[in-house]
């Protein structure tokens, strides 16, 4: 395992800037004001439970929202250019060429009736004007780049002849075929074995450095985040509630939701065993968004006070670049009391 090498991203310019993005499905808002930016060369992780709006955010960046959804507000700027209002043709030029995407299910994301080599070649041909022969040679290079052994033979295989990890490697090869500046990985390892997970994430990380691209890693797995992300955005019910570097965030969560997530997973260094007692759990479910007026997490929050249900707490930026949308845990007495888990 190579581990994550941090790029000097603090100084790196912003590649993708999402500002107060709101996405509505009819009258319901799935994303209610998300702001983050991805700097060049860094890995930004978006963490949150199912239904928090992570994937919809990713699809909106790709302009691939389903027809029932629309961007109600906010802007998405990629390389300084607004991409929310682009027409279909312009959006297609960005998709695949400047932004690549890999999906959760490698089993179903490849065309079952086309060889993997052809599928990679097709992706190359879509955005580069080279001959088919050159594209096929490039496909074999890409298979080699994602460490698929014997790429000449594998290029002629159909997806059903490959294992899950291999298929995800092929997906990655397709996504990076045109040398994108940004790779969006939507739960790239959820469908894979734990041993394959770290290989795939290592691969993504290596490609990030070799191809000098940024990675937007969408996951619900905090274990992945600590090892592979430079910065983390925690999303809850369509808003980002906390943002920071994983080390600082894990050591000192400033939002009750982040704290709840961290205490809900066992950690090796606590010498905690699941037979010792129940893990902490966050009561309720993400659907219990009762306080439409106040903080969306208030109904499930152990620290919620009367003020929390009145107005939505603003996203505060702290001195070290961290952001948090909750004033409660920053009060000293709560922090000390809460972190004895």
């Amino acid at each position: 395992m190579s581990g994550h090498v941090s790029p000097p991203h603090r100084l790196a310019p912003s590649l993708l800037a999402v500002d107060d993005l709101r996405i509505a499905f009819g009258a319901n808002e799935a994303v209610r004001g998300v702001s983050f930016d991805v700097r060049e060369g860094e890995t930004l992780a978006i963490v949150g439970e199912s239904g928090s709006g992570k994937s919809v955010t990713a699809l909106s960046i790709m302009s691939l929202l389903p027809s029932s959804a629309r961007i109600a507000n906010g802007s998405i700027r990629f390389e300084g250019r607004e991409i929310t209002g682009l027409d279909a043709r312009e959006a297609r030029k960005i998709r695949g060429a400047s932004i690549g995407m890999i999906f959760q299910e490698p089993m179903t994301c490849l065309n079952p009736v086309m060889t993997v080599g052809d599928q990679i070649a097709e992706a190359v041909l879509q955005h580069q004007s080279i001959s088919r022969k050159a594209a096929q040679a490039r496909a074999i290079e890409l298979l080699d780049l994602v460490r698929i052994p014997d790429p000449h033979r594998r290029a002629m295989d159909y997806p059903h002849q490959l294992s899950g990890g291999m298929r995800q490697r092929v997906m990655i090869a397709i996504a990076v075929a045109c040398g994108p500046r940004l790779l969006i990985a939507d739960e790239p390892t959820t469908a894979l074995d734990v041993t394959i997970q770290s290989q795939v994430l290592d691969l993504i990380d290596r490609l990030r450095r070799e191809l000098s691209m940024a990675v937007l890693l969408i996951t619900h797995d905090l274990g992945i985040v600590g090892q592979w992300a430079d910065r983390v955005v925690v999303m809850y019910a369509g808003r980002n509630v906390e943002q920071g570097e994983p080390g600082a965030l894990f050591a000192n969560p400033l939002h009750p939701y982040t704290l709840g997530l961290l205490t809900a997973s066992p950690r090796l260094d606590d010498s905690y065993h699941y037979s010792d007692g129940p893990l902490n759990e966050i009561p309720g479910s993400i659907r219990s968004i009762a306080g439409e007026r106040g903080c969306t997490f208030a109904p499930r929050c152990a620290y919620a006070g009367p003020g929390c249900r009145e107005s939505i707490p603003p996203l505060l930026t702290l001195s070290d670049g961290r952001q948090v949308a909750c004033p409660v845990l920053m009060q000293e007495e709560h922090r000390v009391a809460s972190f004895n888990y």
Binding site: S67, I94, G100, M101, E105, E122
Partner: protein, 328 residues
């Protein structure tokens, strides 16, 4: 060490298990060199379509029969001008000659003295041509409209679906008769008319296929690469939607042949060419006295449709994605 009797132990199964004394002698473990048989070198054998086709043929000899019949009929149709030169509508002998009565006309002659064997051979060519042309045209129209409706959805789908339904509410055969009555009957107009009445079925089938495949993840992945709609429809979805369409096509050829025969039987076919339907039509007045005039071309129709149906069944098996997983 007391002798340990297995049979006794079995008999007294309810009794407490005898306590076996622990041996003092430590028996050394035999040294075993693990031996793994050398694994066979991986064979670069791929389970290709060709082998699967052969396997299906071997499993299902009826397909072989169907394919052979169809091949023979096509050969006869193609070679008819060589085998039976001259106009099959020409009077060549005595009328009402029963099959086998004259060696020169083994299938006999009809009420005007035209050779039935020559008619059936030339009719094969017409029937197959109409069947294939009508199916090709019907597939082209049906798949295009179904693909557009299924891929784009929304308003496009609503409008195209209504169009399909309008065509489906019209009774097929009446529509066919009307079109042929307006246009001059010929092989081209017959094929066109049959395509007009058969495409809605294909369109519905392909719309449903495209709708379901469009929702699959690999189409989303293709869109994430910036592929345009035309490319996704043609190179991503169509290959996966083909199997049911090909199976339908084989049935469509059969039904087009039947429609052409029915039209010719009613006297609405091309009067200048002989077809199986027109032969039956010509013989129907003598059904009680000279039934062979209807029976022989009718048998040819039955044989062709049967062959096509057998092939359709086999294609269904060959192209079924569930059979795609070969041994591996």
């Amino acid at each position: 060490m007391p002798p340990y009797n297995n049979a006794a132990a079995l008999r007294s199964a309810d009794a407490p298990t005898p306590h076996l004394p622990v041996s003092e002698v430590v028996v050394p473990l035999p040294r075993v060199t693990p031996f793994y048989p050398p694994s066979p070198a991986p064979q670069p054998v791929r389970w290709r379509t060709g082998r699967r086709v052969l396997a299906v043929f071997a499993r299902n000899p009826l397909v072989l029969i169907g394919a052979t019949i169809l091949l023979l009929i096509s050969m006869v149709g193609l070679l008819a001008p060589l085998l039976f030169p001259g106009d099959p509508l020409a009077i060549v002998g005595q009328p009402f000659l029963w099959p086998g009565a004259d060696a020169a006309h083994p299938f006999g002659t009809d009420s005007l003295g035209r050779d039935l064997l020559a008619g059936i051979a030339h009719g094969a060519s017409i029937s197959l041509r109409v069947g294939i042309a009508a199916t090709a045209l019907g597939l082209l129209i049906g798949v295009s409209i179904g693909a557009i409706a299924g891929y784009f959805g929304g308003w496009t789908d609503a409008i195209l679906s209504r169009l399909i339904e309008i065509f489906q509410t019209l009774p097929n055969f009446v529509m066919l008769v009307v079109i042929v009555a307006i246009a001059q009957p010929s092989v081209v107009t017959l094929s066109f008319a049959i395509a007009i009445v058969t495409w809605p079925g294909v369109a519905r089938l392909s719309r449903a296929e495209f709708r379901s495949i469009r929702a699959r993840d690999f189409v989303m992945a293709a869109r994430s690469l910036g592929f345009g709609p035309a490319r996704i429809i043609l190179s991503e979805i169509l290959p996966s939607a083909l199997p049911p369409l090909i199976v339908t096509a084989s049935m469509m050829v059969a039904s087009a042949i039947l429609m052409e025969s029915a039209l010719s039987f009613m006297g609405l076919g091309d009067p200048n060419v002989v077809s199986w339907g027109s032969m039956i039509g010509a013989g129907r007045e003598y059904l009680r006295t000279a039934w062979y005039m209807c029976a022989l071309p009718g048998f040819a129709i039955m044989l062709t449709v049967l062959a096509l149906n057998l092939i359709g069944d086999a294609l269904n098996e060959i192209l079924n994605p569930r059979n795609n997983e070969g041994p591996r």
